[in-house]
Symmetry: D4
Subunit: 235 residues, 8 copies
């Protein structure tokens, strides 16, 4: 099986340099709980192998140390992400929609959108269409149906994915957010609501995990892109 060359051992971390070959998407750095020095060392190792780098859950301190060495680094404060692109990945043909229930859910939605973008997806943002004013969502139905996959981000009761899944035919990946108070229990109400959704085909990721939803959406979009690409080549 895998040989030692498939990872780089930094002592405090083993960077999985085999991931792009195995899983099709480059390794990503989750910054929370790591020092700026560690994030820099891991990021440098990835960039030596891959053209693009994504660092999630990053603080300004992470960014400052990182940007001092990597001039292409960009800081996305609302999404708490750092990106660096030696050479951007070519855009795939299909689009991924990022639908967001309320303004307060935007940090999670943006984490998803930034992730989608750096992985080569086209992104369609549909913001503040919570179910308490349904006409705002119904007005966007066609834009939603035109996407290949939909990421639906919502806090509080998390009802939006159920409604979206009942309106369109595309896969819906639901992201509960920790937005809310009291009985929202830091996103648990939204999480349970999405898991028990009466909307068929809704799948769910962890609370506030915009990245994970975008990763899964990229896997789907990439499969479709490959099929289309083959088709174009053949025709």
């Amino acid at each position: 099986m895998a040989t030692p060359e498939t990872f780089v051992d930094l002592g405090f971390a083993r960077v999985d340099t085999d991931r792009r070959r195995r899983c099709g998407i480059p390794e990503v750095v989750f910054a929370e709980g790591k020092t700026p020095e560690e994030v820099l060392a891991i990021g440098r190792t990835i960039l030596a192998n891959d053209p693009v780098l994504l660092i999630t859950r990053a603080s300004a301190a992470h960014y400052e140390m990182f940007a001092a060495e990597v001039p292409t680094a960009r800081w996305h404060p609302r999404a708490r992400c750092i990106t660096a692109e030696a050479q951007p990945l070519p855009k795939m043909t299909g689009t991924v929609g990022v639908v967001c229930a309320g303004t307060s859910d935007l940090p999670v939605a943006e984490e998803a959108a930034i992730t989608l973008d750096i992985f080569g997806n086209r992104v369609e943002r549909v913001t503040d269409v919570g179910v308490a004013g349904l006409h705002r969502l119904l007005a966007e139905r066609e834009r939603l149906e035109a996407c290949n996959v939909l990421i639906v981000v919502a806090g509080m009761e998390g009802a939006l994915p159920s409604v979206v899944a009942g309106l369109v035919s595309k896969p819906v990946i639901a992201v509960p957010t920790s937005i809310g108070y009291g009985a929202s229990f830091g996103g648990v109400a939204a999480l349970l609501g999405m898991l028990t959704s009466c909307g068929s085909g809704v799948t769910v990721v962890n609370i506030d995990n915009g990245f994970g939803a975008a990763y899964a959406a990229t896997q789907i979009n990439r499969l479709l892109h490959t099929a289309s690409a083959v088709r174009s080549a053949e025709s």
Copy 2:
């Protein structure tokens, strides 16, 4: 304050015969955890003071013993209720809507509807309008708006009250049901969803508590009826 005559002491129970005067609605029997003999004895005491009787969470065994003595007793198996009306209360002017997300939620919705009926409300039933097929609900918007109060019954993610509250201007009382499995946790997902609803003005009762919702709706409807009645009398 209250004198001993305001209740009847049966040894195992003190029947609150003062409730109608104090709260406007007769005492009700919650049968679960009581023997058929106890239910009969309490029910008999209430009927001696009030023209109508409601027994909730009743089993067939409760009904059989009760019906043997009280010929006007009726059994509502889906709602698990027994009713007895020596003389039905006159119907109030306004209507209460009972909106139900799915077929499996019907037992709870029926408990609400039976309770509303015996307390003198007109009832409008709107069944199986869950948010996964939103057009079924939108088709009923006018019937909903025509009610004074809406009781909205839903299990699973409990999203229906949020959507209803955003469509109509009337008070919405949400009833979570224990319908569902896995992460619905016996109605907890629906309960949390309703408590954290983004639909303003939604109030919530206990899981499967169709009776409680109907009691609260009756209080509101009765206030309105009284105002209207006064108006009629004056004009």
Copy 3:
């Protein structure tokens, strides 16, 4: 159904300018999780359509930016609310009571009272009448019965709504607060206590949701006011 004119798209938010027509009460801003700039932009949009504005869960920073542009803005620090009234709504005939178990529950009770006031309700405040010294509550029984609706705010074990609902005939909307420690679990004990209340007709809103209770109470009071208004007009 709804046409695009029914909301204003600010990019990060779609302000529901159709809400007053649909639901009878103007849109409200929930400030938590929004920047002062966002709150100002949303508030400005609402004030362009509606005579009054309520901003809940606001910080001093939200207020400062807002007040710099809107001279009628008022800051209610205990309730964490900002209000602005181009022209106050006319007061309705009925009164809503705000009953509060302890001094520590006052912030939530005040959020309810401020909300009631700006929506045109008359407010009766009854403070610090927790069940451990019952005579304090019994002394207020007549004031409570004179209200159309009662909002009952309590933390810790949340027993007050059960007792109030047993004393008066009016609808009781219970608000659990996060006051307490240990097994109060941030308001969960009070929430569960209110949901399982033996007091019939108690409905419940989310922990600390004084606004939500006031919104629901306004819906009820408005229905009664309309009936009375019609009556006055007719007589």
Copy 4:
């Protein structure tokens, strides 16, 4: 310290025959999870040392095998207890009150009352005085104050101990019951309500643990009895 003679080893159980000397109250058998044979063997061993025996959480099967050998055995089906008294303990001077919120809470209240009785306490039962009809409780205030200790049994929201503790000066031991449904979570709502009681001095035992409350009440009553007995002897 303790020597081997302080217990009897039956192989599957070590009967603590030293308990009465150490703790002042004889060993008791908790039957749940034990076979009728085991309960009989343990009970027989205790009766060889002590004049009275209490078996809690017993089923009819436990009783049948036990009664076949022990003629003084009595079966208390509602309380699920078996008692056997070779010679009843002399009654102590003080009284313990057992206050019960609703009819459905009676099994737990009876377990407490049976336990109190066999341990030599005088018992005062006050039944069905839940807080939704407060006048029923207020009518009993003097009987409650006349007791040395009060055991207060309640399910659902468990508010009764808070109210009782505010009315009388005696120690209140609260017993939550598993009575209720939905958000009562098998007694958790009542348990949390009692733990967070605003009524000072309320102490709490496990859900449905009528026995434990009675044991604690006996310890207090016994201390008082001893003081009184000494006084009588001296005078």
Copy 5:
């Protein structure tokens, strides 16, 4: 928007006959909590519009009444499903893998496999490859990579999806099962494990929701099939 003809109102249910047009997949019946009569009536209505029918969470009683009227009905006892195919849907080109951690997880895996099959997917079953004997999984790596989508079913600690997601490049839909005891809390341990998976791109459905996972996988597979079909037509 939708007109009344888009559903059939049976009184107790509104069958969504518009779903296939809107969402691409026919309406399905969830039998739990419905009577055999209700299931039959709903199923009959769907079959009048669609060539295939799936009934999940069905009991033998549901099947018996249904099969008496619908001769093509088939009973899948382990999966608790009834299927009926007037004319099977044509098979799509791609394959969906159903990977199962242990023998006890088979009922959920079979619900997924039956659902996939009736919706026109080719299915590859990989059974009993839990992570405690990793070589069993590694031996199947190529079969897994050859699928378009993977449904991974596991109870207990639910670690299998994390490991699979790290080995292959295809989307992984994780299904926690209620298999286990003690701290598995009816599937909660597996659910939390999957939601917090370190394997990127894992999305999750409700505990025991084999159907939901299969529905989502079908949506993905259908998109790919359409792309391929277009390609074939073009070439």
Copy 6:
């Protein structure tokens, strides 16, 4: 019943000046969630009626404002209490033991000890006798048995009350503390351990509620003191 003179209405608080007559112990101030001004106003009102005052959960800010007006005020930082004694209550005859599992539990134990002291109890402190080094506890057995009541304070797994209750014959009031980490869940592990104690007669108060335990212990000790006092008077 109670007349208006039984409390003083400060607007934000109704001070229960009837409590000493009704419950035998003066009103106490819980400072958390109240401003220093409010605490001062309430404390001043109580001191106008009662010779001693206890303020719990107080911060240094509360103390500073209070001490500026009340020269007898004392600050107990570890217990977070303020006391003021115009004239200390006479000491009762019996002693209450405060047993503490570990050094980290001392703040809660001290809150209990300060409360006991100001209410007129003699206090015996036994510190750091956790069950992991049992000989430390066994060495104190006689001191424990000599008390009238025992308050046992423990965090982590909360096993100490079970062991103490098995060693001595006196009532044990258990206080779980929030000391611990991880699966102690802020005191929940200790709370559950104490509620399910195999040590008969253990009663429990809220997490960190040293005050409540001391209040209950005072009620018991006061009953015993009264009996002894009567005895002395009689002899």
Copy 7:
């Protein structure tokens, strides 16, 4: 790495025939959730490779079908285990103690003891030594210290492992049981108590998992046995 010969694929199960080589202990069958036919087929496959077989969580139905084919099968009803020994494993030198808090915990303790026995350990059983009567445990201190490892089984508050770990120097593996009611929450109280034990070195397995504790104890005992065996061989 591992080749296909390391497991046998039965279709519904892949029997890990490589486990004894890899992990030193033969594969075991967990019967719950498997049909008697499946258990028999898996058991037969294991016995073809290993001299002994253990089936846990077995019902009488499992045993009957199994014993019909395997004459050496034995049924241990209290432990719910089936064992079959073509040739018993030779006994190791050291002993494992199984300490049990109460009679009701015996099924779990027996599952541990049966497992230890068939894996070649000598077993010392110490039963009913719960902490409420500490002298029963202290009397056994030397027997406990003489073991290599101790498995300590307890329900309710699960305090026994803390006390044992403080008395002896040997590794303690704690097994919480589901024995108890109310706040024991099916073993959660015991589990949390053991995880937060103040007794250093206590490790914990799942609720009721006597097997798992015995497996871990066997691993330790086997290491020691090997060391001793080498020593004997060398001397």
Copy 8:
């Protein structure tokens, strides 16, 4: 039994100076919740009896006061430990492995490693071998098998111990960490995953309890060392 000389009473703490004799390992100080003065006083007492001292959960403030008096003190900031060795314990023959899933889990792994080291164990660290990149773990299989015991530290879904236990024959002690967000619930997901592990023989300690795991591992390693030492002496 134990005499007073077996502990030193510092007033706020009773230092268990008998622990090394009773349990084989010196007393340790848990600094959280203690003042620097208290930690110093306890540490000084232990060092008067034992050659080495370990202080866990220490802050820099604890270290500063301690180091001012004890020159051999060392500060391990990542592990939050202080150590002091008057004379290091001789190293035992066997090795304990500390396996760590991710970089963020290092603080807990280091607490384990520091503890192991000061107690005389040789330590093998294997870092960042989470199951999402399995080849990193498989590359270390031989190093793992060469250890006597393995401590496996993981957050998020906590799957690593299951996989390790299936690969090697040595006892696995699992340590869940609080690393993660959302549904990891501060380590609960990892804890439940480890408790329900399909990997036989995994035992578990509290969340983030690296110390506890190292203590248990030391107990096992010490038993083995003693056996080996005896063997060496004999040969």
